[in-house]
Assembly symmetry: C2
């Protein structure tokens, strides 16, 4: 984030690349707010309580990386709004994963205050599960990274 890690951003590791994009303190929180419908500079600023120059920096980076894109204001004003791209929307899985981990491990028993629920019926979310293609559920240590040997989807 700060110094360099330029090498790591160019790493083969998808995690390293992801972290290069959203691995700083504010970016994912901005995505969280954008996902929940916030669009305006001042909405982010007020809600997150961060300095305006930092917000500017983050928004620019997120637009550069194609997580957000600028759109004309929906209320007809002259200003722009920031909306998630498709790439940005896909981060919702990461958001849910972080959310669930945080709720499980970062709160005292009586302390939890919010939860995630679906818009339609208000049903709470099920814990994410890691499964193989065939549906077997995996634990934390049950998988590893391998050199790509994915069955080619087409045989020319």
């Amino acid at each position: 984030m700060q110094g360099k890690k330029t090498e790591l951003s160019e790493s083969d590791c998808a995690i390293a690349r992801s972290l290069d994009v959203i691995g700083d303190w504010w970016s994912l929180l901005i995505v969280r707010d954008a996902r929940s419908g916030k669009r305006r500079f001042s909405e982010f600023q007020r809600n997150l309580g961060l300095a305006k120059n930092i917000l500017t920096t983050r928004l620019k980076k997120l637009v550069e990386r194609e997580i957000l894109e600028m759109a004309p204001a929906s209320d007809g004003s002259a200003f722009k709004e920031y909306v998630l791209t498709e790439k940005g929307e896909k981060l919702f899985v990461v958001i849910v994963a972080l959310w669930q981990w945080g709720e499980q491990t970062c709160f005292e028993p009586g302390e939890m205050r919010f939860t995630l629920a679906d818009n339609e019926l208000g049903e709470t979310l099920a814990p994410l599960e890691v499964r193989t293609q065939s549906g077997r559920k995996l634990g934390a240590l049950d998988f590893r990274m391998i050199e790509r040997e994915i069955a080619s989807e087409s045989k020319s």
Copy 2:
């Protein structure tokens, strides 16, 4: 990570709390390596290519936050090893989420090199899916955070 955001770490938001723990550049990569079986200081250092003092700081923080714990060396040497706690192991869902997002969006078409596969049969992992308790699959915008109204699990 840097300045303060002390307020946000104390936030009600589980994401903010999670990010306070693993929201910096190196921590999650250390967890990634620990999950894949790395235990020794030098293994992390060599593999990640970060400065030793930074690694020291990160390991300390991760031990403090109970993501890692110290264990006597398995080879009988006088040194310690770092192994994931249960809390730390639970981060594997976050790791998978970031991995999958990175692979989907941060690589050029011909560029992917690694993939995640289960240890037993070498089967690749299925994309994570966000579902409600009843099993309905949700998209990026289909849920929101609400004040906790979870049905109490016990009625005293």
